[in-house]
């Protein structure tokens, strides 16, 4: 798409239609920034504007998805930088809904702690991160992956430190920004190697070059570097140190957002890379090798997250480690994408993300209530809470059990679908399945710990916890939505899983054509790599 092309303008407009949700988000960001000029110090207006913008973006995403806007033009837009396909649309829809719920949560919890004049900043950063995550789900070449990851991360750094006077928050955000920038630098270095070997930034071309040249050592170095960058976003194990610290220090609504949205966006990105490799690369050995590497990453992440979670006493840190292990399960799912029918796994991942979103939102919301009203996040302080506020306690138990994977709740169905995908992937899949199930068994121990204290333990008479005040209706609405979604996805998953199944489709750019192209050019002679400066 060069400017000299007479078709560039119509092409541009047609493409632009498909990225309208992102454009709407950007416009909303600007609006949120402009609003204070009309009414200074007002919080409701920016909240309203951002909710409206998210809603519009959501509707537009659905519109694109349902083909109302443009029936047959979903696909790769802007010379293949972005892929607008059912998979990314479904994820974006979930993300927008989630961002809206987060804004509601923030309005109820964080707003009083935030200076009224800072509200637009918060919303703008949140929308900016959402924008970046939307792009992560669609990113189809290295430069888009890189820039989308950054536009999701950089606002997150600021969000994590949003409570500026809070020492824990600043410390969390310091760790976050240091780990983040180091891992993104490593990712970029890896990408430079990948570019060096394959000569393209396009994922499908890179996969094609693996076909052509085999798995060269430099490509291995490059892929390792790139996956290290992904591992940071996923909080996979060697890169997970930031996660609990950031989660503990950041405001709860930011924690919820980071634990769910940024991880699931990274999962989508990883899934797209893996899917490209899986569709185009022919060599079985290479595929198994990559799957083995990513699968090991997932297995180690899940196991480590669970093991460390076993001795956590702080509810938020416990949830942080639990989210690390859930990321591990999703990475395992991505690993076997290379080996089995991708639709099965992609829909399982989408379903898992959907369920995970509501489980974590619910659990973190209750953690926030406890933190605010009881003034403690120490689990052992919750002794006898079942008597004092039975509904909240029961809801927390429900969320915990769903995170664990109790049948009848959504978490189980997510794991079942993932397991169904894993078991189709031969020996590697079976081993990963074993890891998944063993981890599930271990995780019971710490997921039951809050339940144990709330239900069984006798409260310490020395410590008098304050009584929990009645919650606001909007908060009950969030909790009710989460609980109902979990029951719905757990008991009647048919509708949701069908939607996920319909959306578990990803468009891989011109895979077949690429393979044909490669076979034509296999006879090219290696170019002399040392030249004079001017040829």
């Amino acid at each position: 798409m060069l400017l000299s092309d007479p078709q560039w303008l119509p092409q541009l407009l047609a493409d632009l239609k498909l990225v309208m949700p992102e454009v709407i988000l950007v416009v909303t960001m600007c609006m949120v920034l402009i609003v204070p000029f009309f009414k200074k110090g007002n919080v409701v207006l920016p909240v309203f504007v951002s909710m409206f913008g998210l809603l519009m973006a959501l509707l537009y995403t659905q519109g694109i998805h349902l083909g109302v806007m443009d029936a047959d033009r979903t696909g790769q837009v802007f010379t293949n930088t972005l892929a607008i396909d059912p998979f990314s649309s479904f994820f974006k829809t979930m993300l927008m809904i989630f961002a809206m719920l987060i804004i509601v949560q923030w309005t109820l919890f964080g707003r009083e702690k935030t200076h009224a004049l800072d509200a637009p900043d918060f919303l703008c950063l949140l929308l900016g991160a959402t924008f970046g995550m939307c792009l992560m789900a669609s990113a189809n070449n290295l430069i888009m992956i890189f820039i989308a990851t950054e536009s999701a991360s950089i606002p997150s750094y600021a969000l994590a430190g949003f409570r500026k006077k809070n020492r824990m928050a600043t410390e969390g955000s310091l760790k976050y920004v240091l780990f983040g920038s180091v891992s993104s630098a490593v990712m970029i270095y890896g990408m430079s190697m990948i570019y060096g070997v394959s000569g393209s930034l396009q994922l499908s071309h890179i996969a094609g070059s693996i076909n052509q040249m085999g798995m060269t050592p430099l490509m291995v170095v490059g892929l390792v570097g790139m996956f290290a960058g992904f591992a940071f976003k996923l909080s996979a194990v060697p890169m997970h140190f930031w996660c609990p610290d950031v989660f503990e220090g950041a405001p709860t609504e930011v924690t919820t957002f980071l634990s769910v949205a940024s991880k699931s966006a990274a999962v989508c990105m990883l899934a797209r890379v893996m899917q490209n490799l899986g569709t185009i690369v022919i060599d079985e050995q290479v595929l198994i090798g990559i799957a083995l590497g990513v699968g090991a990453l997932g297995a180690v992440t899940a196991t480590w997250g669970n093991l460390v979670a076993l001795h956590q006493t702080n509810l938020k840190r416990l949830l942080a480690y639990s989210s690390i292990s859930h990321a591990g399960y999703m990475i395992m799912g991505c690993a076997v994408l290379l080996l089995v029918d991708p639709k099965l796994i992609l829909s399982a991942l989408l379903f898992y993300v959907l369920v995970y979103m509501f489980m974590n939102l619910g659990a973190f919301t209750i953690a926030a209530v406890f933190e605010r009203q009881l003034g403690t996040l120490n689990i052992s302080d919750y002794a006898g809470l079942l008597k004092k506020s039975p509904v909240l306690a029961i809801l927390l138990i429900v969320f915990m059990l769903s995170l664990f994977g109790m049948p009848g709740l959504g978490g189980f169905m997510g794991k079942l679908f993932l397991g169904v995908g894993l078991v189709k992937a031969g020996t590697l899949g079976t081993v990963l399945l074993g890891v998944l199930l063993l981890n599930t068994l271990f995780s019971l121990w710490y997921y039951l710990r809050p339940c144990y204290f709330m239900v069984f333990a006798t409260p310490d008479t020395q410590k008098q916890l304050p009584v929990i005040q009645p919650l606001r209706p909007a908060l009950w609405a969030i909790l009710a939505v989460c609980c109902i979604m979990l029951l719905w996805t757990g008991l009647l998953p048919a509708i949701t899983s069908d939607i996920a199944q319909d959306n578990g489709r990803m468009i891989v750019s011109s895979a077949k054509r690429q393979i044909a192209l490669e076979s034509e050019h296999t006879s090219t002679v290696p170019k002399r790599v040392v030249f004079t400066v001017a040829q």
Partner: protein
């Protein structure tokens, strides 16, 4: 007209549970009792409408549950499930009677109990593996809270141990289920995957499960996985350690339902899933399973003999008695299967009664140390009489319900000699199992002597006499023990056709009968 009754049977307790939570706490007992009586009536209607001589499931409801992976909501009642459903319904009423005096949040207790009831009904009637698994796990959770909140001093430990053990078992089952999915959705099976237990017994799928040539084929490792899953529930000896803890700490009504019904889920599942689905592996490894079973019988009996805690003794007697169930199934003879099934029903009645008898005394004495009792008969002669009936039924006295099951299992074991080349092994197994009967008589009589015989103790005068409610429960269970000891036809008329079918599926019917 009665087609949908089975669904109502499963979900009525759920409705009752919600009602218990929403309505005032002091109404909870009445609601729970009402709910369980309604389910009992439903069960009676089902039993009357049940067509005897029909081998397949009846009152079947099939709905698509998760079309993406072809999971169905499929429930039905056949000869294998009906007697256990009746047992569950009948016991559920008695258990609520036994738990009438629960003081600590009775509404939550009853709600959890009713949820448990739903889970148990679901396990016994579901014909789809995923559905079965869901009910199997759902029955775990209320049990965890029931033991953990209303239990004895070490309740938390017992509850988490129970949960972890059984969950480990369920995970074995889950692995098998996913394996079944893998096999049935493979390229060389065009019909698509299925989790339907009936469809999985068809020869086409059986051929996929155990292809020729490969030693550790799917059927063989799946057999062991499912066996472990259900062996933990039964419990078979090496996997039994959760049971004494759970029983000792659980309150009396929960012990009753745990021993009376929950353990039967394991035996039922062996007959419903493990053996019909993997018959080849079952006949290959039958000696191994039989050895485990006999070890369970003897180990349970010896442990029971060594106990000084009364309730723990009864708990170990459960391990021993359920060993006969495993043995009867393991030897793969028709008589053995019949015996195992009858042993489950008989043990359901006697173990509930034994735990109740212990509970009545414990409520008053607040300890269970056998050596600190004695002469109870003289203090409460009427109670002593019913106790004798209950414990002797547990011991397997002829004419009472424990006898028939044990004898048929032993007969079935010796019958297995006909189909093996060298019957020595069968004789050894059979003799050891028969020796288990002697041990059982030993520990029960010795316990009986230490508690009921001898001089009465002065502290008994302060004890409140057993109430009419308690006598009613004892009498009901005692009469049931007598009736089922005299008329096994009550059970066998229902199970006969289904067992014929089961034996033909397992493929050994012709060999043994």
């Amino acid at each position: 007209m009665y087609e949908s009754l089975l669904n109502w049977l499963i979900f009525t307790p759920c409705i009752g549970a919600v009602a218990c939570l929403l309505l005032p706490a002091d109404k909870a007992r009445n609601i729970a009792l009402g709910t369980s009586i309604i389910t009992l009536l439903m069960t009676i209607v089902l039993a009357l409408e049940f067509q005897i001589g029909h081998s397949g499931p009846q009152f079947v409801t099939t709905l698509q549950w998760i079309p993406a992976i072809n999971v169905q909501y499929k429930v039905g009642l056949d000869g294998l499930s009906l007697p256990l459903i009746v047992l569950t319904s009948a016991l559920s009423v008695l258990v609520i009677g036994a738990g009438w005096k629960i003081e600590k949040s009775p509404n939550i207790f009853m709600a959890l109990y009713l949820l448990l009831l739903s889970g148990m009904y679901g396990v016994f009637v579901s014909l789809d593996l995923v559905l079965f698994y869901v009910f199997f796990e759902i029955s775990l959770l209320p049990m965890y809270f029931l033991i953990g909140v209303w239990g004895g001093p070490r309740k938390e430990y017992a509850a988490i141990k129970f949960f972890l053990y059984t969950l480990a078992g369920s995970i074995c089952l889950l692995i098998t289920m996913l394996g079944i999915y893998n096999v049935t959705s493979s390229a060389d099976f065009v019909a698509g995957n299925t989790w339907d237990m009936m469809a999985l017994q068809t020869p086409a799928i059986q051929a996929l499960f155990s292809p020729e040539g490969e030693y550790w084929n799917f059927a063989r490792w799946a057999f062991w996985l499912t066996f472990i899953a259900f062996a933990i529930k039964i419990p078979v000896a090496p996997f039994h350690t959760w049971l004494p803890d759970a029983h000792v700490e659980a309150p009396t009504p929960i012990s009753m339902i745990l021993a009376g019904v929950l353990l039967k889920m394991g035996g039922y599942a062996l007959m419903r899933i493990t053996y019909p689905l993997f018959p080849d592996a079952a006949s290959l490894y039958w000696e191994c399973v039989a050895c485990i079973a006999v070890f369970g019988i003897l180990y349970g009996a010896l442990c029971a003999m060594a106990q000084t805690d009364w309730k723990k003794l009864v708990a170990y007697s459960s391990v021993s008695h359920m060993g006969y169930v495993t043995l009867g199934i393991a030897v793969l003879t028709r008589t053995g299967f019949d015996g195992a099934y009858y042993q489950m029903i008989g043990h359901g009645i006697t173990s509930a009664m034994m735990f109740f008898l212990v509970g009545v005394v414990y409520e008053r004495a607040h300890h269970r140390e056998i050596n600190n009792f004695g002469g109870l008969w003289l203090a409460w002669p009427k109670y002593g009489g019913w106790s004798m009936l209950g414990f002797f039924a547990g011991m397997g006295l002829p004419g009472l319900c424990g006898f028939i099951g044990e004898v048929m299992v032993l007969l079935g074991t010796f019958q297995a000699a006909q189909r093996v080349e060298d019957p020595t092994f069968v004789y050894i197994i059979g003799s050891l199992a028969a020796f288990g009967v002697v041990l059982t008589a030993g520990y029960i009589l010795w316990m009986f002597q230490r508690i009921y015989m001898g001089k009465t103790r002065p502290e008994y005068d302060h004890f409140e006499k057993p109430t009419g409610r308690e006598y009613a429960i004892m009498v009901t269970l005692g009469v049931a023990a007598l009736i089922f000891g005299i008329a096994p036809i009550l059970v066998f008329s229902y199970t006969n056709a289904t067992f014929n079918n089961l034996m033909s599926v397992i493929g050994l019917a012709g060999l043994t009968n």
